[in-house]
């Protein structure tokens, strides 16, 4: 299991469309992936879960992945959040 703390740089935070993209990306991996914000932990493969966190730009998230492709999962998901456009 690996963990990584990421700061969200997306201009509108994880709004509906970016959230959908994020979940789509997470679903490409077989590892179990979770996102944690302020002690609330949700499944990264569930769009409603991700949106319920109302992730705003600048917030700090922890991405937790466990499984075969955990490393790639964390790298690609944190890259998605760190994009600034």
């Amino acid at each position: 299991m690996i963990k990584k703390i990421v700061t969200v740089k997306l201009k509108n935070g994880l709004h509906a469309r970016p959230a959908a993209l994020f979940v789509q990306e997470a679903n490409k991996f077989s590892a179990d992936i979770f996102v944690e914000k302020d002690e609330k932990k949700v499944n990264a493969k569930s769009i409603m879960g991700i949106m319920s966190l109302a992730i705003n730009p600048g917030s700090e998230l922890t991405i937790i992945a466990d499984g075969n492709d955990e490393e790639q999962a964390v790298i690609s998901l944190s890259a998605l959040l760190s994009k600034s456009e």
Binding site: E39, K45, M48, G49, S52
Partner: protein
């Protein structure tokens, strides 16, 4: 996971009057128990529960006002411990000068309410127990089927939301989709709610986000529901043995509470909503004292014995 409750939350929730402005309202409340320091006022501090909120009512204040100023100062100093989150005075009573000075110096908040002590204590206990109850967020769907709160879990894409939709169409109620906030109350009951942002919403792949309340009406949703049964959906695995009899009962641990759990294999052609409806009815039947599988086991063993005769 425990939520952090600050004294300032309390001030807001109960509209308490803050006596000393300099006090630190960021102090954390960690326990839901309260203390009325009656014996402490008389000087007995051996078992003083200093981590609790202290409540001073008429009895305590009348007593302490009857002793000399020096003794009062000494006892108030011990009452306003560094660990004590705050001291609350009920009935809008006058606060002893000594207590004010000491608490202000230590920055321990002194708060005041107009309610009488017993009423305030019971309100505060309810509030603290709700706020400090352990909570978690679980990935799953919570539905109310025939009055049974069922938490449907399973990996992403297995069809939890679709099952919930079918159940709603059949007249059952949705509580939460995808993320369920679960709180364990004092008597070990698990209460599930939806995070406010996604209340009443359901996500169906290919359709998108739908609002169950506007589509199906107010009768199709619930705000919160006690969870009594967990149903785990999983892809049919031909090498795995699924329960064929229903004599064994599997359990799953959520926070510190054990829930009965059924594992239901998913395969094309299996109507999950019907299976869940039947599971709910069967669960209710068991609760009422009729256990079909056990009843059958008894009948079977009688038949075998008869044959042997």
């Amino acid at each position: 996971m425990k939520k952090k409750l600050k004294v300032s939350d309390l001030v807001e929730a109960f509209k308490l009057e803050l006596i000393c402005e300099k006090a630190n309202l960021e102090r954390l409340i960690t326990v839901s128990d309260l203390n009325r320091p009656g014996l402490e006022m008389a000087g007995f501090f051996t078992y003083y529960p200093k981590e609790r909120i202290q409540i001073l009512g008429k009895t305590e204040l009348t007593f302490i006002n009857g002793v000399s100023s020096d003794i009062r100062r000494e006892r108030m100093d011990r009452l306003a411990d560094e660990e004590t989150p705050c001291i609350i005075v009920a009935r809008d009573l006058e606060i002893p000068e000594e207590l004010l000075q000491i608490a202000c110096l230590k920055k321990i908040p002194i708060l005041r309410t107009s309610l009488n002590t017993t009423r305030f204590t019971s309100k505060l206990t309810n509030y603290l127990e709700a706020q400090l109850a352990p909570t978690i967020t679980m990935h799953g769907v919570l539905v109310d089927v025939y009055g049974v709160g069922i938490l449907i879990t399973g990996s992403s894409g297995i069809g939890k939301s679709e099952t919930a939709l079918e159940l709603v169409k059949r007249g059952h109620r949705l509580v939460a989709d995808d993320a369920v906030e679960i709180r364990q109350t004092a008597d070990d009951a698990l209460i599930g709610t939806a995070p406010e942002l996604i209340q009443h919403l359901l996500e169906i792949r290919g359709v998108g986000i739908i609002n169950v309340m506007t589509l199906f009406g107010a009768g199709a949703v619930r705000i919160h529901k006690k969870i009594t049964l967990a149903i785990q959906l999983e892809m049919w695995d031909k090498d795995k043995n699924y329960d064929r009899l229903g004599l064994e009962e599997e359990k799953i641990k959520v926070i510190d509470t054990h829930l009965p759990m059924l594992t239901i294999p998913v395969r094309p052609g299996r109507n999950l909503a019907v299976i869940i409806e039947v599971a709910a009815m069967n669960y209710r039947l068991k609760r009422m004292g009729y256990h079909a599988a056990q009843e059958f086991a008894v009948r079977l063993s009688e038949a075998i014995e008869d044959d042997a005769d």
